[in-house]
Amino acid sequence: MQPALLDEAWDDRGMREDFVRVLQAARAGSEAAWTHIYKELAPGVIGYLRGQGSRDPEDLAGDVFLEVVRDLHRFEGDLTQFRSWVFSIAHLRLLDARRREGRRPVRPAVPELLSDKGGVGDSEQEALAALGVERVERLLNVLSPDQRDVLLLRIVGDLSVDQVATALGKRPGAVRVLQHRGLARLRRQMSKMGVTQ
């Protein structure tokens, strides 16, 4: 273990420029390195899981990062490949969670119990945000599962076509086709929603 690696503080630029050192430090158990990796990737992972309709995306993201820690010794590559690898783990954990939920359906919380908790912020902002989320959910629901995977990884995960292909275990050409068809379907749905609204 190299103490210098453990003590080193990593900023965004440092991580991009010297990702190998970040990985070495993370393998060595550096808190700074892991914090940086987490902050860099967690929003995208949680966003992807949320976009996929996960019931508890943050919890699932925690599982994803624990698996990243466990399997980091098997990984070899640069930052781009690391992002693909992390999102592929997230995708697999999502599928596992769906299978689990299929076996043990979770009852939704009673609205009265939630209302007891009360609001935590500006209700107007929350309402607007809820409208936006609802609109996004309605739009995403028209997509096939594969199209949804691809578009969410591209938009939310900020992955390239090749990275998405790696994460989903598909060919880049297939990812492009799914992306194109998904976008076309979204356009059609947007025009429909525009007419009805």
């Binding site: 892991w34 987490y38 967690a42 990062f65 820690v69 010794h73 990984f75």
Partner: protein, 339 residues
């Protein structure tokens, strides 16, 4: 099915004048803002604590050097192909070490009996025999035209062929001394092959002159005698027809000859060619001189596969001009004109 440039990176949406794309760009932003969101500070600290705990539990394991290989499909395929090629090489090598001779058909002519799955002459005796036969054949090819044109006597012809069978230089001095007693000119000390060839020549040359056998059959018999195998004249063009239609070869001759009944057909790959008629007509026109005789001899008496070549030569007789033709009974025609 797809628009022009459909697969250009659609996610960038850098066309501000396109209202659809502008709208879609705002949708992408909506999706991002709806889904993306940093975890709360409590969640974040909880996650990082768990991560560090897990990192402490995980022993430091050296990075797997084959991780890339496991991930990459083409690399895996290449590795499998390499392993298969190595296994094949090892298998071939072990077969070679074990002495198994794998058939290599490429590069052999189709008439090669080995290429056709025929009997392969692989032992040393056969090679020696085929060398002797080749020498005898070339001697016949070179001497027979001269014999037919009267350039050399029968004694000289036999001496040349006999010498070729022995592998020595021809000595025709005895022929000039004993012009009448041709039978005595050959070296009595000759090898068994030479004696066989001599006997075959003695037996068959008069028949050839008398027109009882064709040049092809004559060549087959002499060549077979040189090789020490039984002649097979079935491959001679028109032999069967002539034998059935005209006069069969005398039984006595067949009995006397070393063997007429069995043995591998010389030039087993060849078939009677209809073109030999053309050669015959050419021969008749050309007075029976020239290369055709050699081709004829080759057609009948060539060891292994040269008969087909002989046929080809015979069929080319028209273009080449002179030709004895591959016809049984060609000799009488040719000789008749000569005489």
């Amino acid at each position: 099915m797809s628009d022009h440039n459909a697969y250009e990176d659609e996610m960038r949406l850098r066309r501000p004048h396109d209202s659809d794309d502008a709208e879609f760009s705002s949708l992408a932003e909506d999706i991002r803002s709806a889904c993306l969101g940093a975890p709360g500070p409590h969640v974040q600290s909880r996650h990082i604590r768990a991560i560090l705990e897990q990192a402490r539990r995980v022993p430091e394991v050296p990075v797997a050097s084959h991780a890339g290989l496991r991930r990459s499909k083409p690399l895996r395929t290449l590795a499998k192909l390499g392993a298969a090629a190595a296994a094949l090489a090892v298998l071939t090598g072990s077969l070679a070490v074990a002495g198994v001779d794998l058939p290599i058909l490429a590069g052999r002519p189709p008439s090669d009996p080995r290429a056709n799955g025929g009997a392969a002459e692989s032992d040393g005796d056969d090679e020696v025999r085929s060398e002797t036969a080749a020498r005898v054949q070339s001697a016949i090819q070179s001497s027979l035209p001269m014999l037919r044109t009267g350039g050399i006597t029968g004694c000289e012809f036999r001496a040349a062929v006999s010498a070729a069978a022995r592998g020595e230089a021809p000595d025709t001095s005895a022929c000039t001394e004993a012009a009448d007693g041709e039978d005595d000119v050959l070296d009595p000390k000759g090898s068994e092959t030479a004696r066989n060839v001599h006997a075959a020549l003695e037996e068959n040359l008069p028949r050839l002159h008398a027109g009882e056998i064709s040049g092809c059959e004559f060549g087959a018999m002499v060549s077979a005698a040189a090789r020490g195998v039984e002649p097979d004249t079935s491959e001679c063009p028109m032999t069967n027809t002539r034998t059935e239609a005209e006069s069969p070869p005398p039984k006595e001759a067949k009995q006397k000859s070393p063997a007429v009944t069995e043995g591998p057909p010389p030039g087993s790959g060849s078939k009677p060619s209809p073109n030999t008629k053309g050669a015959k007509s050419t021969k008749e026109k050309a007075g029976g001189k020239g290369k055709g005789a050699a081709g004829n001899a080759a057609a009948g008496g060539v060891p292994e596969n040269k008969a087909s070549k002989g046929n080809a030569e015979a069929s080319q007789g028209q273009a080449k001009g002179p030709g004895k033709g591959a016809q049984p009974g060609g000799a009488p025609g040719g000789k008749g004109k000569e005489k």
